[in-house]
């Protein structure tokens, strides 16, 4: 064969190839703003030549395949950074809530309440028999205990909010791993004949990135085209077309229906961030707030119970001790701190003095202010030993050291700590954000669609299409000429 019909066949085949190229370009343009879309291109290949009279003649062009301009390395890096960014974002936003509890720039803060409490003791020392001063002390003490209680409640509430978030996150992870497993199945089936399943892969990459925003993971592509996904802690999430799900119960996260908490195996992503807040940040501040409240109870009571009331009574607690363990453990103190019923019922039960009555049943001197002076001096006593907790290893045992300090300084260092932690989370967040932006630019430079480029290509294909059409016209003319030869 050969000759004019061959020319026409070649041109017709080329037109078909041009149309496919156009379709690819058109699809690129259509998806210019589709997140996760990878630019595709038609790979042209010249057809096998035929031999005519010892000549090897080409037989035109065909589209061999449609490939993706993918950049697996950057895609992987983006997934990892997505999980870091989401972890930091989650931490920063939760921390800003915790921080607002300790925000001493406003009024009505714990620092204010503490100052007012100590000052009220000084007022009692100035006028130990004054009922106004005694009532004012009780009022200020109550404001202080209520402030401790509400901060403790808010911290507990933050932990509960985290659990609600984690439950929602776990459901999202289950859904995403299910979808990824399903896509694995489709991709393996679609690529069985060696044609790349470009759009399915884009979908899967996009799901993997979403998964990274919830929980840090590692994904490895297998030879058959499916990906195996694991958490950073090594739990298998997707294997072929099967996914492994999580469930939650209270504080526990169970894996694959086994009743065994796997919280510590989940890091990164929003879930990782929430777990950090729930298991490290909030417990640390709660423990330290408890230490402060517990120390306050013990120090004030130690002096108060040895003092004497104007009516000659002693051994009265200022703060309620029904929940204070003898062991010195202060867990929960910020939550339970409250005034003893003795002083709450009667301000006259405040033991401002240290002089016992002359005889049992007598009263004590009403002008005795020694105990009030001693208690007020606790404010600046910087030889008080207070435990300070650090909880930084997830699920590990918290560590503590004993600080010799004053209660005021201890509280101020707590405020400083939360400021530094929040500042660091904000910094980490902006750093992760700019890293991710850079990576996205790098990925786009390989995989993104550039409209100018597509337009140029379109012009090129259009020209080729016109030329090929012209070939058919010319071949037709040649055929006509031939037919007219008579």
């Amino acid at each position: 064969m050969g000759g004019i019909s061959s020319i026409m066949n070649i041109a017709a085949g080329a037109l078909q190839a041009n149309q496919i190229e156009m379709e690819v370009v058109s699809n690129n343009i259509a998806n210019v703003n589709t997140p996760g879309y990878t630019r595709q291109s038609a790979v042209l290949e010249s057809n096998s030549p035929i031999s005519i009279n010892q000549l090897k003649l080409g037989t035109g062009v065909q589209v061999e395949s449609v490939t993706q301009a993918s950049d697996p390395y950057t895609t992987q890096a983006i997934q990892q950074n997505t999980s870091s960014l989401n972890e930091y974002q989650t931490e920063a936003s939760a921390l800003s809530q915790v921080e607002s509890l300790f925000n001493e720039t406003g009024s009505g803060t714990l620092g204010d309440a503490m100052n007012n409490f100590w000052n009220a003791w000084q007022d009692v020392a100035n006028n130990p028999s004054g009922t106004t001063e005694r009532s004012a002390l009780l009022e200020n003490a109550q404001i202080l205990t209520q402030k401790f209680n509400s901060m403790s409640n808010d911290l507990t509430q933050t932990k509960e909010d985290m659990n609600t978030n984690i439950q929602m996150g776990v459901e999202q992870v289950n859904e995403l791993t299910g979808q990824i497993a399903a896509l694995n199945g489709q991709i393996v089936a679609a690529e069985a004949d060696n044609t790349p399943a470009n759009d399915l892969r884009d979908q899967r990459n996009s799901l993997l990135q979403q998964l990274s925003s919830w929980v840090g993971n590692v994904s490895v592509e297998q030879e058959n085209g499916s990906v195996t996904v694991m958490t950073q802690g090594g739990l298998l999430l997707v294997d072929g077309n099967k996914n492994y799900e999580f469930s939650t119960q209270g504080d526990m996260i169970y894996y694959n229906n086994v009743q065994n908490d796997v919280s510590n195996n989940l890091t990164g992503g929003q879930i990782g961030g929430w777990l950090n807040i729930r298991d490290e940040v909030v417990p640390q501040y709660q423990s330290n707030l408890d230490e402060l409240a517990g120390t306050l109870i013990r120090q004030v009571n130690a002096l108060h119970s040895t003092g004497y009331t104007p009516s000659g009574q002693t051994d009265k607690d200022f703060f309620d001790t029904s929940q204070v363990p003898a062991s010195g453990d202060n867990t929960g103190a910020a939550g339970y701190i409250q005034l003893s019923t003795d002083v709450l019922d009667d301000p006259a039960n405040i033991a401002a003095g240290t002089i016992p009555p002359a005889a049992p049943g007598d009263s004590s001197p009403p002008g005795d202010n020694e105990n009030a002076l001693k208690i007020a001096a606790l404010q600046t006593d910087d030889s008080i030993q207070i435990q300070k907790w650090t909880i930084s290893n997830p699920g590990g045992t918290p560590s503590s050291s004993v600080e010799t300090t004053s209660m005021d300084d201890y509280y101020q260092s707590l405020v400083g700590d939360i400021g530094i932690t929040t500042e660091a989370a904000n910094d980490n967040q902006s750093f992760a954000q700019s890293t991710l932006n850079n990576l996205q630019d790098v990925q786009d430079s390989v995989s993104g669609v550039n409209l100018d480029e597509e337009m140029t290509e379109l012009l090129q294909i259009q020209q080729a299409y016109e030329a090929n059409s012209k070939m058919i016209t010319i071949a037709d003319d040649m055929l006509q000429s031939l037919l007219q030869v008579q």
Binding site: E99, E104, N127, Q412, S413, N437, D441, S445
Partner: protein, 300 residues
């Protein structure tokens, strides 16, 4: 580097968002007038400012305490001065008898004068401030001095707290004695025994005893004057401390202001810079959006 079309828009968007956030932060600073509005804005400055305001609040309380101490001291001073003058008057009465015995009228008159002085001294010893006896130690509700017996058995008894003084805190580890007990101030001066002794000596017309009591009264006057100057020392101690607190307060307030308050010149300049950067970013975005090959292609 090859640049994809969405990259351009995404970069513009991110830049505008971040510039806007910077601008917003500066505006918040300028409008609140505060350098930091939460601990994380500047943890170190936050902790410093907390420490400073803590100290300021303490100083304020010490100043309140010092007012209480000053009230006690000035009331004590007035009473002690009067008692000291009263001892001097008693000495003058005794002096009338230095030249020998006097008529019965003069004697009776002198006796009743001294009796009056005793009552007056007891009243002054029972001085009250806001309903509390200030020369009673801790027993501020007990009348400290009372006349007991008559004639040869007459004595003035001290029935309040003989050991403790009323102290007020005026510094982190510093207290001042605002009210000394009546035992120390009056009983130890032997004023009452001397006055009663003088009254009995005049009644007995006992010249030697009168002279002896005159000497004792001089001793009491000296003792009381020493008490007055002791009060004066404590008052001037309070004054010095008060002046120091005023000065420290001013310093602390300045430091706190430097930490917390925005330097408006600098902040407004910075805000204007951010504003300019933001405007330029917006204009660039408008320019870039117009650049496209599509603009140069003929539709037909």
């Amino acid at each position: 580097m090859r640049v994809a079309t969405p990259t351009v828009y995404r970069d513009i968007q991110q830049n505008i968002v971040s510039l806007y956030s910077d601008l917003n932060q500066m505006q918040e600073k300028v409008s609140s007038g505060k350098n930091f509005n939460s601990p994380s804005d500047n943890p170190v400055a936050m902790v410093n400012s907390l420490g400073l305001s803590d100290t300021l609040a303490q100083i304020q309380q010490y100043q309140t305490n010092m007012n209480t101490a000053n009230e006690w001291l000035s009331t004590s001073e007035t009473a002690l001065n009067q008692v000291s003058q009263l001892a001097a008057s008693a000495q003058q009465i005794a002096a009338q008898f230095s030249s020998g015995s006097q008529s019965a009228d003069v004697q009776t008159e002198a006796e009743s004068q001294v009796d009056g002085l005793i009552d007056e001294a007891i009243d002054l010893g029972n001085t009250q401030l806001n309903g509390k006896y200030i020369f009673a130690g801790y027993q501020t509700a007990t009348t400290p001095f009372a006349d007991s017996g008559s004639g040869a058995t007459e004595t003035v008894v001290y029935q309040a707290d003989p050991t403790n003084d009323f102290n007020v805190q005026i510094g982190p580890n510093e207290t001042v004695t605002a009210g000394k007990n009546g035992q120390t101030v009056f009983m130890d001066s032997n004023l009452f025994t001397s006055l009663i002794g003088l009254k009995q000596a005049i009644a007995n017309n006992d010249q030697t005893a009168i002279q002896q009591e005159a000497t004792n009264l001089q001793g009491a006057t000296d003792y009381l004057n020493a008490q007055v100057s002791d009060v004066g020392i404590r008052q001037s101690q309070l004054q010095t401390q008060g002046q120091m607190f005023t000065q420290v307060s001013t310093n602390l307030q300045n430091q706190l202001g430097d930490l917390e308050n925005v330097d408006y010149n600098q902040a407004i300049l910075e805000m204007q810079q951010k504003q300019t950067a933001y405007n330029v970013a917006l204009e660039t975005a408008a320019q870039i959006s117009q650049v496209s090959l599509l603009n140069y292609l003929n539709p037909g």
